[in-house]
């Protein structure tokens, strides 16, 4: 079983994450935690000093964190993006696609199940954050830059 999962090179960020409110009100924190109702775009002016953003999933069915993650990545956030809370193995793949690169679930995950979940789909239909080529790009390689 695995309690913490990281897809980043090097050490995971260790500093405690503060709330969005206290983060935007002070200047020295480098880790922040976003709750479902909070606007990830409030963090955009501060991305270069952030090493870790935790996105909390109090309940697996609340999908706002997927949008938060993508928004941060679309705006160039390079730091660690960690999904925490009610994170289940069947969601890891979609979370990876939205830009999460570490996971700290409430309940430890089965390593083999994580492995299967991440390698299940050889192809994807959408362009997302993970750099995978969608099938439409594979179908028309001459149209895709680079």
């Amino acid at each position: 079983m695995v309690e913490f999962l990281s897809f980043r090179d090097g050490e995971a960020a260790q500093e405690p994450a503060v709330t969005v409110e206290s983060f935007t009100g002070q200047s020295n924190a480098t880790a922040v935690r976003i709750e479902p109702g909070e606007d990830a775009r409030e963090l955009l002016p501060h991305l270069d000093r952030l090493s870790l953003v935790e996105v909390n999933f109090p309940a697996y069915g609340d999908g706002r964190g997927y949008s938060a993650a993508r928004i941060l990545r679309e705006s160039g956030f390079q730091g660690e993006l960690r999904a925490v809370g009610d994170v289940l193995v069947d969601q890891i793949n979609a979370m990876r696609r939205c830009g999460f690169d570490s996971f700290h679930p409430n309940k430890a995950l089965d390593d083999a199940a994580v492995e299967r979940a991440l390698n299940r789909y050889a192809d994807v239909y959408q362009k997302a954050i993970d750099g995978r080529q969608p099938v439409w790009a594979k179908r028309h390689p001459e149209k895709i830059d680079g």
């Binding site: 069915g61 999908g63 706002r64 997927y66 199940a113 192809d123 239909y125 099938v135």
Partner: protein, 543 residues
């Protein structure tokens, strides 16, 4: 028709294996029911009153003969020999064993079918016009767009845990045969300066707070439709209500913040997202479009139909619709026999229709949101042979759009959410109005029954609608008048206090009597209602 390439097939095959793994984990106890429920729902597997129910996606309602045959085989092999066509052009099996579900999906995958996202708080099967590609009045075939969106929405990483389910319809005619404006998002293809794009409507829906979707953009070009819809969905995913499941559909968000504010937010997000390279190249839509090119219609065909058999002539007049190609016709097959169950078809009937599609309809058929079937490319010369075979199979009812062509949800006979039974009521109404001349006299009259407020039977959109409710443990039925799911979309109004099952049948008879007495030349029931209003009907009912 669209055919999978190796990418499509590999994704669907992977889904079968993923679900097999999930079912295995459930059966061994590694997943609790709470954890398993959203996973099974996202694959169309419900736990209903009597058993598990599996909803199979029929993308934009189009099927080949081979696919239809497979649906019949599954009904015979894994279910109790029948299936139920739904108001979203899908098919449901009522008696599925959990342990069989992965094998069923594997069988579906062999004919390029699946149950992906036929339930759950995600983007559901994309629906469309059952006459797409064959009606003369469309600006383009909407199905290539629907297929593009099927692919885009399948396993969308950001939009799989939305506040609530999300339904999209695509049409391309002024006649709306898909209840487009009663969808979370409706697209209507239009031509602007010779370029095809989409009008976008958002925030429609039925359920407990029915709304007709307002227009939010008058043109989105095909090369930007994906990024535009990503923007619509992202605003909804972030700001749709999650505190109350009854207020979680996009219609409530659009209503609460106002259509102008929703538009503003979508435009702002769209300005951002259109720069991210999310849109497939136009070559991709061209690639899909090639699958929907006109089939090789024969030329020089006769337009004549031998009408000497009066029963056949009656059926032709009611069930056959004009096709865009000379010598061809569109055949509507009624799944509303007067004593039957709306939308149900036996394994044998499914097999017969599959064969008819192969033999007479260029291997293609359609499912309609009114729970009927369509053979879209029939030579007029073959109509009589088709009718004879339908007649033998109990599928030759001539009641398209008449009062006995009733939309009915499964209701309390099958559905765990229902409050009242829809099907027995539909049968009583059909029997009361069984007389063919009487039905014809009443003309177009869309009667729609839902067994609960979730409105799967589209009761808000019925010229006459019926809503089943639970009154202290007893089934009770409210009557609505004046709804429409067509291009003149409107929401029905409740007449007043509800009725017993027999009482509501009597009330409908009084309502139709008022119509017959009050109508002027050429007026449909709906037109008369709109002209004279609720009052005369109410007086007749409650007197």
């Amino acid at each position: 028709m669209y055919r999978y390439d190796s990418y499509d097939q590999s994704i669907v095959d992977a889904r079968v294996e993923e679900f097999r793994d999930q079912v295995q984990r459930r059966l061994t106890g590694a997943l609790t029911e709470d954890q398993f429920k959203p996973l099974r729902l996202m694959n169309g597997l419900y736990l209903q009153l009597h058993a598990y129910m599996l909803r199979v996606a029929i993308p934009y309602g189009t099927l080949s003969g081979k696919q239809m045959r497979k649906l019949g085989e599954i009904a015979a092999k894994y279910d109790k020999g029948y299936g139920h066509f739904t108001t979203r052009q899908n098919l449901q099996y009522n008696w599925i064993k959990l342990a069989d579900a992965p094998d069923i999906l594997a069988e579906l995958a062999t004919v390029e079918m699946h149950a992906i996202q036929t339930s759950g708080n995600c983007i559901r099967n994309i629906s469309s016009d059952q006459y797409a590609g064959v009606s003369a009045d469309e600006v383009a075939d909407p199905r290539p767009w629907a297929e593009l969106l099927r692919q885009w929405s399948s396993f969308h990483p950001e939009f799989t845990y939305l506040p609530r389910k999300f339904k999209i319809a695509v049409i391309a005619s002024d006649d709306d045969r898909a209840a487009m404006r009663l969808h979370d998002i409706g697209l209507k293809l239009v031509s602007k300066d010779g370029v095809i794009g989409a009008e976008v409507y958002a925030g429609g829906g039925m359920g407990r707070t029915p709304m007709v979707a307002p227009l939010i953009r008058d043109f989105v070009a095909e090369e930007e439709i994906v990024s535009y819809l990503e923007a619509c969905l992202r605003v909804y995913n972030r700001y749709g209500r999650r505190d109350n499941k009854y207020k979680a559909r996009i219609k409530i968000l659009v209503h609460e913040i106002g259509v102008e504010e929703y538009k503003r937010q979508v435009e702002e997000e769209f300005a951002h997202m259109r720069e991210l390279g999310l849109n497939p190249p136009t070559e991709e839509l061209d690639r899909i479009r090639a699958f929907f090119a006109n089939p090789a219609y024969e030329t020089g065909l006769s337009e004549d139909v031998d009408r000497t058999d009066p029963a056949f002539a009656l059926w032709v007049d009611r069930q056959v619709t004009a096709h865009k190609a000379p010598g061809y016709a569109i055949v509507n097959i009624s799944l509303k026999p007067l004593t039957g169950i709306p939308g149900d078809a036996s394994a044998e009937q499914i097999e017969l229709v599959a064969s008819l599609a192969e033999q007479y309809s260029l291997d293609e058929l359609r499912v309609t949101h009114a729970q009927n079937l369509v053979l879209p490319h029939v030579r007029k010369a073959d109509l009589y042979a088709i009718w004879q075979k339908l007649e033998e199979a109990g599928l030759a009812e001539a009641n398209l759009d008449l009062i006995t062509d009733i939309i009915a949800c499964p209701g309390l006979d099958y559905c765990a959410l229902a409050n009242a039974r829809s099907i027995p009521l539909a049968q009583k109404i059909a029997q009361r109005f069984a007389d063919a001349e009487r039905q014809a006299e009443l003309g177009e009259l869309k009667l729609k029954i839902s067994g609960c407020i979730n409105a799967c039977g589209h009761h808000h959109a019925g010229h006459i609608g019926i809503l089943g409710v639970d009154r202290k443990g007893v089934e009770n039925f409210q009557l609505l008048l004046g709804g429409s799911g067509a291009q003149d979309a409107s929401l029905g109004q409740i007449t007043g206090p509800g009725f017993s099952e027999d009482g509501v049948v009597d009330a409908i008879e009084k309502v139709t009597d008022i119509y017959l007495a009050e109508r002027t030349d050429g007026e449909r029931f709906l037109d008369t209602y709109r002209r004279i209003g609720m009052k005369p009907f109410k007086e007749a009912i409650y007197g």
